[in-house]
Amino acid sequence: MPLDAPVREEFAALLGPADVIDDPVRTRAYECDGLTGNRVVPELVLLPRTAEDVAGCVRICARHRIPFVARGAGTGLSGGALPVADGVVIGLNRLDRVLEIDVENRRAVLEPGVTNLEITAAASPHGLYYAPDPSSQQVCTIGGNVAENSGGAHCLKYGFTTNHVLSIEVVLPDGSVVTLGSDSMEQQGPDLRGVFLGSEGTLGVVTKITVRLLRTPEVMRTLLADFPSVAAGGQVVSDIVAAGIVPAAVEMMDALAIEAAEGATGAGYSLDTPAALVVELDGTVEECDEQFALVKDICDRHGCTRLHVAGSPEERANIWRGRKAAFAAVGRISPDYIVQDGVVPRTRLAEVLERISGMGDEAGLRVANVFHAGDGNLHPLVLFSAADGETERAEHLSAGIAELCVEMGGSLSGEHGIGTDKACSMPKMFGEDDLAVMNRIRAGFDPDHICNPGKLLPTPRLCGEKPGRYRPHPLEEAGLIDRL
């Protein structure tokens, strides 16, 4: 038994008894992350206060082969921080210091428990900000962002967490501490920093993060435009891109999502429109003004029925409040819902939305759509009622939507990760060999399989054996690759 009394005492001797939680009432608070349908109560929760103590915890785990799961704010939507039975959770919320704002080099050094929004709050007095902005940015932590390679509304222009992290200090699963990345884009050999980013807590625990900060743009121009159909909105996005404009953000919502968001926030969205587009441009006054005029023209050309330009920072904030509240707001129009996250090539948006609508009708369930239209990242919200026994149907529909995205030449996940939620769908996107190599990389980091086991890659125990004949790779079926 790995977690017998002497082991517990080792943790208590390291952290102090108050920071080792085994009271089932309290460990229960850690039983799930944002994917609340999956729950496992951990044996122990460890709450270290320093990077050294995190390494100490991992060393004890390594010595006794105790599986561990690192956890930030628990806002993840794919079950990446789901505890492991007989294992420990290492909560990183107490490592919450902004260690340095280095104005001269435009970077910040952070502990993993710092929230995403706190970085920009600390940087903004210097005219700087941190670009990736997931909707959960008020609570989600930079450590979690590193694990998930989080995106957000502005990653079309500015990229994802991986494009903004210079270096990370990581406790490897054997308890050793390494630095991946460097102070510049030059590195000593392969980009292990980039391998760790988005590895969903399966390759180690991050204890220190150095991120790039950007200069706050001179101006931001934001508009909210209504369209007679989602397809018309999609065409606007295509035309903006074809004009050589890279907007800071392009977000689309359909009628159901608008109804929910407007009901919750009163942000000023129209309740009678089938689709609304939020377009934001930023940059220098000269470029922004010129491009913004062009965007307004494009909107008009595609039958825009109402165009509202944010006239003040407050109005801009309001538009974003409506958009960012959309997931939670759906709770107002449905007792239960599942947030899906898939990606399709932007040019196939209209087609995929039609298919999703058909799949929803077939399942007898409503699907609200909120998406990052600029990069083809969909967030279909499957609405259902658990009390009416619709759970299984909703889960089936949601998984089907993600797999549809792969079939269209896209991805199972744009920003929420694979976690436990989609591990069994991975063979839809990757071949057996691809997954086997990912397992080899994982073994290079974690030969004893104690670091967040059961996440990201399918296992026979999790997904059941899948014997049988050759199944063509989805990209092969889509005509994008050839079988060798």
Binding site: D102, E104, N105, G127, N149, G151, F160, T162, T179, S182, D183, S184, M185, E186, Q187, Q188, G189, P190, D191, L192, G194, V195, L197, S238, V241, G244, T284, E286, E287, D289, E290, V343, V344, P345, T347, H372, D375, G376, G409, G410, S411, S413, G414, E415, H416, G417, K422, M429, F430, D433, D434, L435, V437, I441, R442, G444, P447, L456, L475, L480
Partner: protein, 375 residues
């Protein structure tokens, strides 16, 4: 025992690359256009060379999605010409692209140019890869969409790998629009003055695409702006006003001197000096390069990345000086006879790197010598 002269294999399809790896016993060197043949550690003796320069061509270009997949041996120069017809480009301007460097070669050597300040390095532009491992496994990661977090990002592992995990055969890239207009503003002066100007520019709202100092007498700071045909002149004016001194707009060919210092040497010529690539925190770069015995320097004062040409005997000293400010360094071109360390001190993650190498290439078949003396 003497070895037979190494064979050169020149596959033209991914399948032929895999067959070559499976059918050729022993150790393999990998080459593309050969523009970085001598970079990093000197290649050790091999049984065969996999020459990927015939594995070329665009596989799929999706203009509406701004993505392209190409065979790894495709010269970026050729790719840019093809994309330009759609008003698109790969936003990478490494100097040796002009010498025919390939997509796979630029990725494997983690090369980048001045515009990495805004567009990042190859690691930020690649969204999918297919490569061949020592046991013949063809492995894909990423995909054809820009936003994608499914699975481990193999492309990053291959970035800067110098072929040590095996040959790349296909690469999927994200594209950017070709700017409507580009301008270059220059200020002459030594690197210390250039650093002061750089600080002013990066804290201004003018959004420079590249900020590079090029050595000379007294040296010159080059700043690139991109924008609209009608809007760019106004920004150039603001930039000139901001910098003062003798700042002025000059022709875009000013960058050719920069490229010449970073592009490496044609393999037939023995270079005069050794070229070392350096990276450190940007604010430390000017004083670092000022103290090196360099005969040629390009310094990205906003990125922290510099390329310096120094006497061969000074390479070890350069590694030490860079390590002392917490930076990283790697030897690029060198005189043939030079016996100098290719890398600075080993990274803290060396044991991890070795563990991954053992997982993917247990027989140490690929690119022996590149990470000498670490592994």
């Amino acid at each position: 025992m003497t070895r037979a002269a190494p064979t050169t294999l020149r596959p033209t399809t991914p399948k032929e690359v895999r067959d070559a790896v499976l059918d050729t016993p022993g150790r393999l060197a990998i080459s593309g256009a050969g523009t970085a043949r001598h970079w990093a550690g000197r290649p050790a003796e091999v049984d065969a060379t996999l020459d990927l320069s015939a594995l070329t061509g665009v596989i799929t270009h999706n203009p509406g999605d701004m993505t392209v997949s190409v065979h790894a041996g495709t010269p970026v120069r050729d790719l840019q010409a093809e994309l330009a017809g759609h008003g698109q480009r790969l936003a990478l301007d490494a100097g040796r692209i002009g010498r025919g460097a390939t997509v796979g070669g630029l990725l494997a050597t983690a090369d980048a140019g001045p515009s990495s300040l805004v567009y990042g390095a190859m690691r930020d532009l690649v969204i999918g890869t297919t490569s061949v491992l020592a046991d013949g496994t063809m492995v894909r990661s990423g995909g054809h969409v820009i936003k994608n977090v499914a699975g481990y990002d193999m492309a990053k592992l291959l970035h800067g790998s110098y072929g040590t995990f095996g040959p790349l055969v296909e690469v999927v890239l994200r594209l950017h629009p070709v700017p409507k207009a580009t301008a270059c503003v220059a200020v002459d002066g030594p690197v210390a003055d250039a650093a002061r100007h750089t600080a002013a520019v990066v804290s201004s709202p003018l959004e420079p695409i590249a900020v590079e100092w090029v050595s000379g007498d007294p040296g010159r700071l080059l700043i690139r702006l991109e924008g609209g045909v009608d809007t760019l002149p106004g920004r150039v004016g603001r930039l000139v006003d901001l910098l003062g001194d003798d700042a002025r707009e000059i022709g875009d060919d000013a960058w050719s001197g920069h490229a010449a210092l970073t592009a490496g040497q044609p393999s037939t010529d023995a270079p005069e000096g050794a070229v070392v690539r350096i990276g450190c925190a940007p604010a430390r770069l000017a004083s670092l390069v000022a103290e090196l015995p360099a005969t040629g320097v390009t310094a990205g004062l906003a990125t922290g990345v510099a390329t310096v040409t120094v006497p061969g005997a000074a390479v070890a000293e350069v590694h030490d000086a860079v390590a002392a400010v917490g930076g990283t360094s790697v030897l690029r071109d060198r005189p043939d006879a030079l016996d100098a360390p290719a890398w600075g001190p080993a990274p803290s993650a060396l044991a991890l790197l070795k563990a991954i190498k053992t997982q993917l290439d247990p027989g140490a078949r690929f690119a022996p010598g590149r990470f000498d003396p670490w592994m």
